[in-house]
């Protein structure tokens, strides 16, 4: 019982200390991410109008009813940005998770199995990585059509090649350590070795990479949206909103920059947090 109390006290202490040690940029980043998540989840409650609802006249300047004005066909910009958070972030998160699942899984297997398994996986990844990502994605999406599941899978597979390389090189470094050999000599299978011996020792750098990749995927979806192959109308997403309203800039209205600003702020926030997480994990190593 005393042990349990000790551990609880210890835990409490480190948690309190950690919060105090979080640098300001990371705190801001965490806050921004939290706000984005709340907005994304609660979009129907927060948004004054529906995402495809024609709420007023086209190109209405910002006023009391439409805080950020309306777009070319009279949809409320603020509501679309709020719903856009849901679509853009949700899809980016799912894509990143899927690409990590694929990339890290294959990378770990390649590193632990070695031999021909490693050769086949690595060469396949080399081939894929040699084709420019955006062009590859544009090609596949124009062949298969730009539905949300196709987009998620396409980007996840393309992105997983980068994660494959990272996780393979991380796992190779752990794989040569004696404790992995101990597990192997005990008769453990590859799955157990990956899950219990390798994964815990590479989580920190992979987490940092997750943050970065999330940002990249998120920007990638926005750029696909800008090119017209991303999330399809009438669903709102930040990238296509920038494109749709870009003509407004020529008329001197800065409202078109609002979705672009949302993209920039979230990308920055995620990177602040990732920087801090990377420092934290490197500090924990000793």
């Amino acid at each position: 019982m005393s042990l349990a109390v000790d551990r609880a006290a210890e835990h409490h202490d480190t948690l309190a200390q950690r919060v105090r040690r979080v640098p300001l940029p990371a705190l801001i980043g965490l806050a921004v991410i939290a706000i984005n998540i709340v907005v994304a989840i609660g979009a129907p409650l927060i948004a004054p109008f529906g995402q495809s609802e024609i709420a007023g006249p086209p190109y209405n300047p910002p006023d009391g009813a439409f805080l950020l004005g309306t777009d070319a066909i009279g949809r409320d910009m603020l509501s679309r940005i709020i719903y856009g958070a849901r679509n853009t972030i949700g899809i980016a998160l799912m894509t990143t998770l899927l690409s990590f699942f694929l990339g890290a899984g294959a990378g770990f297997v390649a590193a632990t199995a070695g031999g021909w398994v490693d050769q086949i996986l690595s060469r396949a990844v080399d081939v894929m990585i040699s084709i420019p990502k955006l062009i590859f994605a544009l090609m596949i999406l124009s062949i298969l059509g730009a539905s949300i599941p196709t987009m998620i899978i396409t980007i996840a597979v393309l992105d997983s090649t980068r994660i494959f390389r990272l996780s393979r090189s991380l796992a190779i470094n752990v794989n040569v350590l004696d404790f992995v050999e101990v597990a192997r000599l005990r008769g453990e299978n590859t799955f157990w070795i990956v899950r219990k011996e390798i994964l815990p020792n590479v989580t920190a750098p992979l987490l940092a990479e997750f943050g970065l990749r999330f940002t990249f995927v998120f920007l990638f979806i926005s750029s696909l949206g800008f090119l017209g192959l991303g999330i399809q109308p009438p669903a709102a997403d930040w990238g296509s909103m920038v494109k749709d309203n870009s003509t407004l800039i020529t008329f001197g209205s800065l409202i078109a920059l609002a979705p672009a600003l949302a993209i920039a702020i979230l990308a920055l926030a995620v990177n602040f947090v990732v920087d801090w997480a990377a420092n934290l994990t490197s500090g924990l190593k000793d």
Binding site: L177, D178, F179, R184, L185, R186, G187, E197, P200
Partner: protein, 552 residues
């Protein structure tokens, strides 16, 4: 010994070094240590890891590792206090006046430059010698350090020379600017015993011929005793005892020093059970090789009984660890027979059954990398119990607790991460993990080499006790014939992958000795100041005899 003259070349007064984290003072690493170093004098610093000996050595150069701060005391060199100098002034002293020889020469040389260029760097950069003169000097140093082909040696890159040669090259680098003081930080710890003798002799000749004062840091008292005039014994950053080498060795006053001095003499009782013995491991004509190297081990025959403590000795590269890997199946044998209690084992561990894997367990040299730092102590020892026997959960718990008791770790350690344990505790845990499989044969691959002498001694005691209670055969791989002689009952001596000598311990170590065994034997440092001289004299005598013989 040298009588301390009136003016010491270096004088350390009340040196205190603390660890610091985020500006908060932490553990005291060195606590109020003082000593004087006379010109030409050698002071040995000895103690286990964490005793603060390297920290003192570095403080002599006015340096503290990142995260450490010299909080009190002074380091006086030529009347100036190095601690309070500016970094620029200190940099001018380092290398030119006070030089440093690090433990791992391999990690300290720049792999992209030739040796000569690195050895001459300080004298040329500081303008102490013209480039041509510096080079000539360096070649002279290579010569006095007994390096092969001194004229050409400097043209090699660090990776082209052996570890012992590189360590000597590092000493040459330290001496290049004729400093007043050289700090040797465990310079022979990473070397083979046979190489160590030559390197020690070269160091000593160099120090004596140049009249350089030196601080010699080591964890092996017998090594320090060969070079040092005075020895300071340190523990937990505090001075335990300080005196002339002979006094420390012959009349140690403190209990800790007495333990250190006695460490090499303890004789272990034999493992019982010889009366109804059982053959466990049989190897016949076993050969194996790595992809690019033919026959790393070849034609190995050996028999291990249940009551045996079977030693495999040899220098690094002799194939002794490879042999262990062949036995456990990490490196499949290419020919020959390998039997465990009469049952032929497949060459690769991948083809062995779980039961066959269970019966042979391996203990590694480096406990730090043999344990997953993200697992707790409990996870580490519970896994083999579950994996091999799969008893109910509370039974796993009970067995794990029993194992922890046997390796003498407190039960609170169960929830700790393995990375929080000390080196000795980690090695104990590795033993418990192997023991959890209830093996018939436990192979210890240099299991005590990376540990401090006193900790290693405790591990040996533990192994012997467990061997007795669990009735298992022990295969003990080591380069240290001193330990082998005290701990084992059978031995094979390996050289270049083959067995050159072997049999019962009493027989192998009784005269007449096999030539190679004799060389290994004479290389084990002994706790007397005259050991190095005697060994060198005996070796040169043997050479003279050989020359005389071939002439006749």
């Amino acid at each position: 010994m040298t009588p301390a003259p009136a003016t010491p070349v270096l004088s350390i007064r009340g040196l205190t070094v603390r660890a610091e984290r985020d500006g908060q003072p932490g553990q005291t690493l060195v606590d109020d240590v003082s000593f004087d170093l006379a010109p030409g004098q050698v002071i040995g610093l000895i103690g286990e890891s964490g005793a603060g000996k390297s920290t003192i050595g570095l403080a002599a150069l006015g340096y503290s590792r990142p995260g450490c701060v010299i909080t009190a005391g002074s380091v006086l060199y030529k009347g100036g206090d190095i601690v309070h100098m500016t970094e620029r002034e200190r940099q001018l002293l380092r290398g030119a006046d006070i030089a440093y020889v690090a433990q791992s020469a391999g990690a300290s040389f720049n792999p992209a430059h030739r040796l000569l260029q690195q050895v001459c760097e300080i004298p040329i950069a500081r303008g102490l010698a013209a480039p041509a003169k510096a080079r000539e000097n360096a070649i002279g140093l290579f010569q006095s350090l007994d390096l092969p082909e001194p004229q050409r040696f400097g043209g090699y890159f660090p990776h082209q020379v052996s570890g012992g040669q590189l360590q000597r090259a590092m000493a040459a680098m330290a001496m290049a600017a004729s400093p007043a003081i050289v700090v040797f930080d465990e310079p022979t710890t990473a070397l083979d015993v046979t190489t160590q003798v030559e390197v020690l002799a070269a160091f000593r000749r160099l120090i004596q011929s140049h009249g350089t004062a030196a601080i010699y840091i080591a964890h092996d008292l017998a090594v320090v005793a060969q070079l040092a005039d005075r020895i300071m014994v340190l523990r937990h950053g505090k001075m335990v005892e300080y005196g002339d080498t002979r006094d420390i060795l012959e009349r140690p006053r403190q209990p800790y020093t007495q333990k250190l001095v006695r460490e090499r003499t303890r004789k272990f009782a034999a493992a019982p059970g010889a009366e109804r013995d059982e053959r466990l491991l049989t190897l016949r004509n076993v050969s194996a090789s790595y992809k690019s190297f033919r026959n790393v081990v070849h034609d190995i025959d050996l028999d291990v009984d249940r009551s045996d403590t079977f030693a495999i000795v040899g220098e690094s590269g002799s194939g002794k660890s490879t042999l262990a890997r062949v036995i456990v199946g990490m490196l499949p044998r290419q020919s020959g027979m390998l039997e465990l209690a009469g049952e032929t084992l497949p060459a690769s561990f991948k083809e062995r059954t779980r039961e066959q894997l269970r019966r042979i367990q391996l203990i590694y040299q480096m406990p730090d990398i043999a344990l997953n730092p993200h697992q707790t102590v409990y996870e580490t020892i519970a896994r083999p119990i579950q994996f091999y026997f799969n008893p109910p959960k509370d039974e796993v718990r009970a067995q794990a607790e029993e194992l922890l008791r046997q390796i003498e770790l407190p039960l609170e350690f169960m929830t700790r991460k393995t990375s929080m344990l000390s080196g000795g505790q980690k090695q104990r845990l590795c033993i418990a993990r192997a023991l959890a499989a209830k093996p018939d044969v436990m192979i210890c691959d240099e299991a005590t080499s990376a540990l401090d002498p006193l900790v290693a001694e405790e591990i040996l005691e533990l192994l012997r006790r467990l061997q007795t209670t669990h009735r298992m055969g022990l295969v003990f791989i080591s380069h240290d014939l001193g330990v082998v002689r005290r701990f084992c009952n059978k031995v094979i001596v390996m050289k270049r992958g083959a067995i050159v000598d072997g049999g019962a311990i009493e027989k192998v170590f009784a005269p007449p000795l096999h030539e190679y065994t004799a060389l290994l034997m004479s290389s084990v440092p002994q706790m007397r100041p005259g050991w190095l001289d005697e060994t060198l004299r005996a070796r040169s005598q043997k050479q003279t005899d050989a020359i005389a013989q071939s002439a006749a």
